[in-house]
Amino acid sequence: MKLLYFAWLKTKTGIAEEEITPPPGVTDVASLLAWLKGRGPGFAAALADLSAVRVAVNQDYARPGDKVRPGDEIALFPPVTGGRA
């Protein structure tokens, strides 16, 4: 499973991209985030407020109950801020 981090999620975790194999209990977005939180202080800080975190699975916006599978591309990022004009 490929994980991507953008904007301040990249800054706080110190990672832009990584290949991971989560434990078998990780089956959806919510359980993936819960597992990631426990990987270290950077992850705990980045994922402290999940209301400020958006997740995409294979480049589409995902919800907490959406399934994640080996081979998926999962991205974590803040709400988008493309413009304010």
């Binding site: 904007a7 995409a56 480049q59 589409d60 990022f77 801020t81 413009g83 304010r84 004009a85």
Partner: protein
């Protein structure tokens, strides 16, 4: 048509390319987003737009297809830049051509409102008071929600 690029674009040339050879077009509406010198209360010197290559194109493509399905459009173009941008630099171009002006105005506004909430871009602002990642605004969601189908 969707383009995501670091380079600047020329709105005049894009207009000519978009309308060339299509005499059904009766009007073109375009929006050009530009870097301004303030963000809320803070003065701004420059900003860097980060994006998610691949997902950006996918999301913009979906938004464009939605606009083509809702309005009778003859042509449509979205060009979005990424990277470091200075004051006055162009950021985004949305251009919509239709036989009649109403469809072109409405579709252009729809595309701009939606791309601001769907396209995975994040702003990193630089100013005399320091640098920071910009937080999303509820007003952007509200602007996009106006277009939600009832």
């Amino acid at each position: 048509m969707i383009r995501v690029q670091r380079e600047d674009f020329d709105p005049g040339r894009e207009l000519e390319a978009l309308t060339a050879g299509n005499t059904r077009i009766g009007g073109v509406v375009s929006f050009v987003g530009v870097v301004r010198d303030f963000a809320g209360e803070r003065p701004l010197d420059a900003m860097t737009l980060e994006h998610y290559p691949g997902m950006t194109e996918k999301q913009l493509g979906q938004i464009e297809r939605e606009a083509m399905a809702r309005w009778p459009l003859e042509a449509c173009l979205i060009v979005h830049r990424f990277g470091r941008l200075s004051l006055g630099d162009r950021i985004v171009l949305v251009m919509v051509a239709s036989s009649h002006r109403d469809a072109a105005f409405d579709a252009c506004r729809f595309l701009v409102d939606w791309l601001k909430t769907k396209a995975p871009f994040w702003k990193f602002e630089e100013g005399p008071q320091g640098s920071r990642w910009v937080e999303a605004q509820a007003s952007d969601d509200a602007a996009a929600a106006r277009w939600a189908k009832r």
